[in-house]
């Protein structure tokens, strides 16, 4: 578990009464969650349960049907809010499959946003930043000439992470960072998530159903179940939970007993 001082009153991301439907399918019914500045919050829940939808609301890729999303004191879900650009500059996101730009090599992927947002930087400065970011994810600078198609799944996610931190964000969102990776590569990604928190001091939100990863990187864990956050707690609190659904999920049981369900 990471060892970073976190002020419980300093909320970085606040979700209140979040509701979202796609057609007739209600995905989020009433999501309420506070994410503190500097902490790593892991959101767990079943596949297709709406975890990634929560993440996309946090970065403004989706707008809620009801409820509010507040990031660093700014309500970004309001119809009057148009300055998504400024908020997104504070945030970086690691997508499930990396979402690297296929037509660009690794170096270009990392440098692209940097070049567009900081035209004042010289090419030398940009290349130095690319090298620095590659080193942060434990890759050698020579890696910059590799095309995304030449990279393995784990490498793609590491490069995508380097791209996400290129603009020095304050918040990092991870969408299923270890899905599809072998246990050792998953652990490399987990270590990188911890590194980002300790080296950059970022607030992190990790969406996953990989409990090994969740227990390793989380300061707190929130469980999403049937469109609602049913429990939030530290790793120890979640491990010792009395909630049958949370217990079922973290222990990977297919069924829960009738008595537990009635409770």
């Amino acid at each position: 578990m990471p060892n970073v001082k976190i002020n419980p009153d300093d909320v970085m991301i606040e979700l209140r009464g979040l509701k979202k439907s796609f057609g007739r399918q209600d995905v989020l019914l009433d999501v309420n969650l506070d994410i503190r500045r500097g902490e790593t919050m892991v959101i767990i829940g079943q596949s297709g349960g709406g975890k990634s939808v929560i993440l996309k609301h946090m970065i403004g890729l989706l707008q809620p049907d009801h409820g509010t999303v507040t990031v660093d004191g700014v309500t970004i879900s309001s119809p009057d809010f148009f300055d998504t650009h400024t908020i997104r500059r504070k945030m970086g996101m690691l997508f499930q499959m990396g979402a690297l730009f296929d037509s660009m090599d690794t170096g270009e992927n990392i440098a692209f946003a940097l070049r567009e947002h900081h035209p004042e930087l010289s090419e030398k400065q940009i290349q130095e930043t690319v090298t620095e970011k590659l080193k942060m994810i434990n890759l050698v600078p020579e890696f910059r000439t590799k095309m995304p198609s030449e990279l393995s799944g784990g490498m793609r996610k590491r490069v995508a992470l380097a791209r996400a931190i290129a603009l020095n964000p304050e918040i990092l969102l991870y969408d299923e960072p270890t899905t599809g990776l072998d246990p050792i590569t998953s652990d490399v990604i987990n270590d990188l998530i911890l590194d980002m928190q300790s080296k950059l001091g970022v607030t992190s939100v990790v969406v996953t159903h990989d409990m090994v990863s969740a227990f390793k990187v989380a300061d707190r864990i929130a469980m999403l179940y049937k469109g609602r956050i049913i429990e939030v707690g530290t790793v120890e609190e979640i491990k010792n939970t009395t909630n049958p659904f949370v217990h079922q999920f973290i222990t990977g049981q297919r069924k829960i007993s009738v008595e537990e369900e009635q409770n």
Binding site: L61, A99, D102
Partner: protein, 259 residues
């Protein structure tokens, strides 16, 4: 009950149609908004010009040469014993410059480039690359749509002119080698009844056709369904929709430009 369902179905169809047209118009407007920023992204535009324009030349070369040959040989067959040989050149030139060149290049490009555009954008959407642009504070309309739009706007007219030239050369080849019409006769025939408007009308049309292929390609890419099948359906839809729209637009432009 049946009547009510039928009316509801018609109403839904109309609403969906209006929504789709609205989305296509919005794509066009959002793209146009970034055209003044084009000078900041010459590399992106040139790259697209190469992919859309230069890479299409081999296909266009074959189709144009053979279309010119077919048009000329048919003109000669139909006019034989009716008019002088020089009118073969006149007919070929008129047909090629006004209709065959622009329409043929537009249809070929709709198949080759429009489908590729829909497949590329659909695949990018599927792999969350479009979201990645947005999350990085980069508007996909600026970095993906605008360069492609400008590449279409410059390359489709250029390819149309190239196609015209190649088709006329095809006609000349067939005259000299198969129809016993001399180069001089063919050339003077081309000049006879030629109006500058014939050439310009084709080029004006090609701008409209380029816009149609781009907007529909981008629209179908953005709305592609999930998986390989979704992208496959999107590419098919863009070819069908583009070809239909090109032919319909051609009719209205013919009525407007040559009335």
């Amino acid at each position: 009950m049946i009547l009510r369902n039928f009316i509801a179905w018609i109403g839904k169809l109309i609403i969906t149609g209006i929504e789709n047209v609205g989305e296509v118009v919005m794509i066009f407007i959002r793209t146009l908004r970034y055209v003044p920023h084009a000078y900041k992204h010459p590399n992106l535009i040139v790259k697209q010009m190469v992919e859309i324009g230069v890479s299409s030349i081999p296909l266009l070369f074959v189709t144009s040469i053979f279309t010119g040959m077919v048009a000329t040989i048919q003109a000669e067959f139909q006019f034989r014993d009716l008019v002088a040989d020089k009118f073969v050149g006149t007919a070929a030139c008129k047909m090629i410059l006004i209709e065959l060149g622009p329409i043929l290049s537009a249809l070929v490009l709709a198949g080759r480039v429009g489908s590729a555009l829909a497949a590329e954008i659909g695949s990018m959407r599927e792999k969350e690359e479009l979201d990645a642009y947005t999350v990085l504070g980069l508007d996909p309309y600026r970095y993906l749509a605008m360069p492609r739009f400008l590449a279409f706007m410059t390359m489709v007219p250029c390819l149309t002119i190239i196609s015209n030239c190649l088709a006329l050369i095809g006609g000349w080849i067939v005259c000299v080698l198969a129809l016993d019409i001399t180069t001089y006769t063919y050339y003077t025939g081309m000049q006879y009844l030629f109006q500058t408007m014939d050439l310009f009308a084709g080029v004006i049309k090609s701008f409209i056709f380029g816009t149609i292929i781009f907007v529909l390609g981008f629209y179908h890419g953005l709305n592609a369904g999930a998986g390989a099948r979704g992208v496959g359906v999107a590419t098919m839809n863009v070819v069908v929709a583009s070809c239909l729209m090109i032919l319909i637009a051609d009719f209205f432009m013919a009525a407007l430009l040559f009335q």
